[in-house]
Symmetry: C2
């Protein structure tokens, strides 16, 4: 690991001098002091992205929710829990040459989250009210001032992957969407491999199933091409 | 660890020949294939209980939700995810001389959990319907046939600990409640210490704040006394 770092720092990688923001992991949205809503993101793809970008010489700011994999060495780590905290951390980390938004951010939070442990209502069941979380990818994609040259979003879908992810790219205004099929049958969510479709302005490019490290290395190469061409 | 095990097996511990069921960890209740409701239980207290009971010679069946600490060696591990799975695993593990229900089981599950990733409703917010989960502690406490001689429940409270826990003991029908204050100010939830109140038929006994391993060892001693007196 240390050797990799030294090589990255000594080598004249194609991303030398570029500052890249990577978000990673799940967010946890509190219900009360003991309960929360989570998602199955392990943070493995985001951590691999940060590592691959670092290896090409980039200065990486790694903003991570409570992931089950450790952040790579040699990047600036900002640890957060909720979507709102992640959004603020992204603001603080800008400007950047590229933003890679690999975190699985909860779309909403519990608006009646309680400081005390939730007691059951009369029928024994909780009543949860939700509010939309900040849409980090959309907001950064639409920044008039200080938008990164390249904004990359991720999409985890369980069905109609290309259709949903293509629509997501247009809706969010990002440059690329890295889409993957996380339907339970694939065993991908929480696993070590990804079957990725890269969606850009020229359409969808289906990549063969490969390790998350390989996906990250290929994406990092593409990012380097995009930022230096 | 191996030495501890050998000593436990060779020694004539007071729980030799006793079969004890321990539940531990959080449960995860799925919302859809990628999202779930969780709680902050690390499983540390349950794992420490299993280890302490094993060290006194008990045959331990350890039924654990997705905990962040590893199960101890030398116990039979049954890994589950949801409250319903934990309930079934408890049924399969009975009969036992004692049941120690340290798991932080979700009181309810999402009844409209979806096989596909939840899409937003018109207003962008999810609609979750809840159903009550099986009440494992109450059911085992009220078993007419095959009730363990000693049933121990746990209560994590953020306020009015003794009052809530005393009421819980009566409501559930268990013999003891091990109550602890998990209000955020204590830093106990997810930490390494516990400030425990042991509630039995003779009232509440406040223990000093101590490590979870020490809590477990003292409880295991008390369980041994109760089962062998």
């Amino acid at each position: 690991e240390i050797v990799t770092e030294i090589i990255a720092k000594l080598s004249d990688g194609p991303l030398q001098g570029k500052r890249i923001l990577v978000t990673s992991g799940p967010t946890h949205e509190p219900i009360d002091p003991v309960r929360y809503i989570a998602n199955r993101s392990s943070g493995a793809q985001g951590a691999a992205m940060a590592r691959a970008l670092r290896d090409l010489g980039a200065e990486v700011v790694f903003i991570t929710g409570p992931a089950s994999v450790c952040p790579p060495e040699g990047v600036t780590v900002v640890a957060v829990e909720t979507a709102e905290q992640m959004s603020e951390a992204v603001d603080s980390a800008l400007p950047a040459d590229a933003g890679v938004f690999a975190a699985a951010v909860s779309d909403w939070r519990v608006v009646n989250a309680s400081d005390q442990k939730l007691k059951k209502s009369k029928d024994g069941l909780p009543v949860m009210e939700f509010a939309e979380n900040p849409d980090i990818l959309k907001r950064v994609s639409h920044l008039e001032k200080g938008r990164p040259d390249l904004v990359v979003g991720f999409a985890a879908e369980t069905n109609d992957v290309i259709e949903y992810a293509t629509a997501k790219r247009l809706r969010k205004g990002c440059d690329w969407i890295v889409a993957n099929d996380v339907s339970p049958a694939t065993g991908i969510m929480g696993g070590s491999e990804n079957a990725v479709v890269l969606i850009g302005e020229n359409g969808a490019e289906e990549w063969p199933r490969m390790g998350k490290d390989q996906v990250a290395q290929q994406l990092a190469q593409r990012i380097a091409q995009a930022l230096t061409s």
